[in-house]
């Protein structure tokens, strides 16, 4: 390598410049060719289907009649008819209680689960950032919930939360925390709690790992300096650790939040048919496929897309987070 470098140096300046611009052009052309397959693939699996979903939401398409669909404007979103008596009847998803129930469930689930996961994830990350014997083992252990497929965890917890034979009820009864067996997944007051328990169990490790990566970028001497100055560890956490880990924490939170907003599989398997946990994704799929209200389901999917897109834009705008990584 040393010899090639010395060759560069002896080439006259003008020559290098020309060679360089040729090279740049060649590289740009190659870059273009390298990007095209990926862009085409993404356009086919993401761009086009998204546009079609939005299109379907403005039609009266049904599963059996995808192509004969007629344009109906915003009818699937909001529509009204004035009866002879002067009464106005509203229709469309914006006047549909089932839709608002799903929105409420989705928001409630996302906010509670992400809050709990952030707090618990921070605790786990702080533990893993400390030096102690068996740290590797603990890290391996927390990876297990992450590695288990969501469907499997839904089934596993469904069994553990079973009202008659579930181990959770048994533990709680033994410790006297409850006085009768609870039908966690079936009862309407606890269905959401059951979903939250499983989701927090499954995704806290991911949060913890992201926060841990942030923690490990904080130089150790800052802590040493704080300790030397006699700053209380709790104060060090609030004044030093938290501000420094904030960027990593914010990215983790937004990733999780966007992920939580689209939750489908856990709820579909753990608490099927419960209106207390039905989220937008579950409701939209039900309409799209099971109820043969393809256009109506498309409208709900489109709304979810809009909500998530708006959240992302707002977040980037407010947080001024640089997702592009930029040139460093």
């Amino acid at each position: 390598m040393a010899s090639t470098q010395s060759t560069i140096r002896i080439v006259p300046a003008g020559h290098t410049k020309r060679a360089k611009s040729d090279l740049m052009r060649q590289r740009l052309r190659a870059a273009g060719w390298f990007l095209v397959p990926m862009l085409i693939a993404l356009a086919i699996v993401a761009g086009w289907p998204l546009l079609r979903t939005i299109y379907f939401s403005f039609t009266n398409a049904s599963l059996t009649n995808l192509y004969g669909a007629e344009w109906v404007g915003f009818k699937n979103y909001l529509n009204w008819t004035v009866l002879k008596s002067g009464r106005v009847i509203w229709s469309g998803l914006l006047s549909d209680p089932a839709w608002w129930n799903a929105v409420w469930n989705t928001v409630r689930f996302s906010i509670i689960s992400v809050t709990l996961e952030t707090i618990l994830g921070t605790v786990v990350a702080l533990v893993l950032n400390a030096e102690f014997k068996g740290r590797g083992l603990v890290r391996a252990a927390i990876l297990i919930p992450w590695a288990i497929p969501t469907i499997v965890s839904a089934r596993m917890w469904g069994w553990m939360l079973n009202d008659q034979f579930g181990i959770i009820n048994d533990v709680l009864l033994t410790f006297g925390l409850i006085d009768h067996k609870i039908a966690w997944t079936a009862s309407s007051d606890t269905a959401m709690i059951a979903v939250l328990i499983v989701d927090v169990w499954k995704t806290t490790p991911f949060m913890a790992l992201l926060i841990l990566a942030g923690l490990q970028m904080i130089p150790r001497d800052i802590y040493e300096a704080a300790a030397l100055d006699g700053v209380h560890p709790v104060k060090t956490f609030w004044k030093v650790t938290l501000p420094l880990v904030r960027p990593a924490l914010m990215v983790a939170v937004i990733f999780r939040l966007l992920d939580a907003m689209r939750i489908f599989d856990l709820i579909y398997v753990l608490t099927p048919n419960s209106s207390q946990t039905k989220t937008i994704s579950v409701l939209a799929r039900e309409n799209l496929i099971d109820f043969d209200k393809f256009a109506y389901g498309s409208a709900q999917s489109t709304m979810l897309f809009l909500i998530i897109a708006l959240m992302t834009i707002l977040y980037i705008w407010l947080g001024k987070v640089r997702f592009d990584g930029g040139d460093r």
């Binding site: 090639t4 060649q26 590289r27 740009l28 190659a30 870059a31 273009g32 390298f34 990007l35 397959p37 990926m38 993404l42 699996v45 993401a46 086009w48 289907p49 998204l50 979903t53 379907f56 995808l66 533990v127 102690f132 603990v138 252990a141 927390i142 990876l143 297990i144 590695a147 288990i148 497929p149 969501t150 469907i151 089934r155 596993m156 069994w159 553990m160 034979f165 790992l209 992201l210 990566a213 942030g214 960027p247 990593a248 990215v251 907003m261 689209r262 489908f264 398997v269 799929r285 799209l288 393809f294 498309s298 979810l304 998530i308 897109a309 987070v321 640089r322 592009d324 990584g325 460093r328």
Partner: protein, 276 residues
């Protein structure tokens, strides 16, 4: 002195709780999977029964083995496809500066945040139009939406960190971009490829919504759907033993892979995430 002991003790208590909560559900699933008959409905905290009935039932009756095959086929094809498309794209995004690069990366990231349900209707139409409905190809095709952006993203962050000198030396030796990727970068990229490939494999292996929607017969289903739809003779007779056995079969290889590659996986998961 006493204070410091209590502090150490409570720290280890916390560690113990974390480990117990993380591991117990899977341990309990394994425990349940070895129970059969009425033993299933006794609550035990320690292994008391050992019977392979559930495993035999899952593997010999029904089409679970076929489902496993489908999952392996789909997940591996998705990985190969995504890595192939992503390596070259990542080179362009990481090593060549051109106008709109930041915007492009942003778009790719945006795609990975798409709610899957938003493309479900459009993909459903495409899958039917291409005649892929109820075949593994429908899944290989549609899974690109979440594996490709992710692999491109992680490989780009990784490739950006490769030293520029290596590339310069190759350019001086007259290597074309294609040669640089295949002969110079690829050997250096194996760790990153293994990590991203593994993460893409896990994502494809676990996917549920598309698998549920784009397949309709027992023979073409992947394992998550098969496990979700595993049911007994009646709605009230859920075969928990068999469900747990199937769950263990599906999960053990994943947990093993994750534990073997844990360092790499943690790196891959956090790449791009923390640099924000």
């Amino acid at each position: 002195m006493l204070w410091s002991y209590t502090k150490t003790a409570s720290f280890y208590l916390l560690v113990a709780i974390i480990v117990l909560v993380s591991v117990f559900p899977f341990y309990y699933a394994i425990l349940t999977s070895f129970k059969s008959g009425t033993a299933l409905f006794e609550i035990n905290y320690l292994p008391t029964h050992f019977s392979l009935d559930n495993y035999i039932a899952v593997l010999t009756t029904g089409v679970f083995v076929r489902n496993l095959g489908n999952s392996i086929l789909v997940a591996s094809s998705v990985v190969v496809l995504a890595l192939f498309l992503a390596v070259t794209a990542a080179f362009a995004l990481a090593r060549v500066s051109f106008r709109g690069r930041g915007l492009l990366l942003m778009t790719i990231l945006a795609v990975s945040m798409f709610p899957q349900i938003a493309v479900l209707a459009g993909l459903f139409e495409l899958v039917r139009a291409f005649g892929l409905f109820n075949t593994p190809f429908a899944l290989i095709f549609s899974y690109t939406i979440f594996t490709l952006p992710f692999t491109v993203w992680v490989l780009t962050t990784f490739m950006r960190d490769l030293p520029v000198e290596i590339e310069e030396a190759a350019i001086v030796d007259g290597a074309s971009p294609w040669v640089i990727i295949t002969k110079v970068f690829m050997p250096l990229m194996w760790p990153a490829l293994v990590t991203t490939g593994l993460l893409a494999f896990i994502a494809a292996w676990n996917e549920f919504l598309f698998a549920l929607t784009f397949t309709s017969s027992n023979e073409t289903r992947t394992v998550p759907v098969a496990i979700a739809l595993l049911s007994g003779a009646s709605q009230y007779e859920i075969p928990w033993g068999r469900i747990m056995a199937a769950s263990v079969i599906v999960t053990v290889p994943l947990v093993a892979l994750v534990l073997i590659f844990q360092r790499k996986i943690v790196q891959g998961l956090t790449a791009g995430g923390v640099k924000g």
